[in-house]
């Protein structure tokens, strides 16, 4: 091996692939954004041309991805520490932090302008606000300063169905805010369950998660409290215009299971959790993913049945 070849291998070995740039957009989070925005768009009482609808979802997804890239740029220092995030493109050395920032800003601008052109200015402005909220309010400000970071920051992840609705209608009403509230109330128990079994990650990174600042017992109590409030909200939504028999059946079953899981987490102590490697917390976390997907899926089914005289009450 010559000096020149050694130099080449060390400089270029970590050069980013197309997939690394895609990973910067947080594809798993983006899939949630796509799905909830699609439900918001289709549940709206206005039909949208398929091409316009496709563009709306695509640019909302790109906007969500752009905020993910900006989040990774800002959080690169703590992503290097946490086991869950240290393989992300920046800590892995594939993409530099300034590259991620430029990529995120460029995609933010593109997505906002294109959504405004494809649908309406209101939708574009709301997407811009969502990106601002996630990047500035959550990532830069709240995430490292308050244990309520997840609660308030969860709003950013809850906005996509509202943007989808606005993209279709050009106006605001109660229904998309019920979908917003569903995701908003779901986020804390979802993330706090994760924090319970990924505890060393957040401790090491110095992120003031509730588990670190108020203790694990308090976190378990908070999970139960939010799950009770979420269940009331989810069942209540079933009686509104976006609900119906299908939604109600899904909501009753899932909220019963979710409440049982939250009660089991609340009743457990740390010793019991350590023994089975947080089995209950892990299964609650998995259930939470299914919970949100099926609730929004049921809202989608109700809206798709309406043209056939079915769906809704």
């Amino acid at each position: 091996m010559t000096d020149a070849s050694l130099h080449a291998s060390t400089v270029y070995e970590d050069e980013a692939s197309f997939g690394d740039y895609f990973a910067l957009l947080k594809p798993r989070v983006m899939s949630l954004v796509v799905f909830t925005a699609l439900v918001g768009l289709l549940a709206a009482p206005v039909s949208v041309h398929p091409v316009v609808g496709f563009c709306a979802i695509l640019f909302i997804a790109i906007g969500g991805g752009a905020s993910g890239a900006l989040n990774m740029w800002w959080d690169a220092d703590i992503d290097r520490i946490m086991k869950r995030t240290k393989k992300r493109p920046i800590p892995a050395g594939k993409i530099t932090a300034p590259e991620a920032m430029t990529f995120g800003i460029a995609l933010s601008g593109l997505s906002v302008i294109m959504l405004a052109l494809a649908t309406n200015i209101f939708a574009g402005a709301f997407l811009a606000f969502t990106i601002f909220f996630y990047v500035v309010i959550y990532t830069m400000w709240l995430k490292r300063s308050t244990p309520q970071n997840i609660v308030i920051g969860g709003a950013a992840g809850a906005f996509p169905p509202v943007i989808g609705w606005i993209a279709a209608t050009g106006s605001m009403s109660l229904e998309p805010w019920l979908m917003f509230a569903l995701t908003f109330m779901w986020t804390p128990p979802h993330f706090w369950a994760l924090a319970l079994f990924m505890r060393n990650d957040y401790d090491d990174a110095g992120v003031p998660m509730l588990t670190v600042t108020h203790g694990r017992r308090a976190t378990r109590v908070h999970i139960l409290a939010y799950t009770v409030l979420l269940a009331i909200l989810a069942i209540g939504t079933g009686f509104t215009s976006i609900g119906g028999p299908v939604y109600m059946a899904v909501a009753v079953v899932l909220n019963a299971l979710f409440l049982i899981g939250a009660v089991r987490i609340w009743r457990r102590d740390e010793d019991a959790s350590e023994v089975d490697n947080f089995k209950v917390e892990r299964s609650f976390f998995k259930l939470s993913l299914l919970y949100l997907f099926l609730h929004f899926g049921a809202i989608l089914v109700e809206s798709l049945l309406k043209p056939f005289g079915l769906g809704g009450w």
């Binding site: 080449a8 291998s9 050069e15 740039y21 316009v52 563009c55």
Partner: protein, 55 residues
């Protein structure tokens, strides 16, 4: 490890370039499709028609 023609880096760069090309090509097609939908929709007016209508 010399940077010869078959180096893994070249295939990675090729993949990145093809990916970017497809994304840009897709974007062009999407903007064209969106434009077609907009100008053929019932509510569309050319700017000249709008100004004539208001004057």
């Amino acid at each position: 490890m010399a940077l010869n023609k078959e180096h893994e880096l070249h295939s990675r760069r090729k993949g990145r370039n093809i990916g970017l090309g497809l994304v840009l090509g897709g974007f062009v097609v999407l903007v064209l499709a969106l434009t077609m939908v907009k100008v053929t929709s019932n509510g569309f007016n050319f700017p000249s028609e709008l100004s004539q209508g208001t004057n």
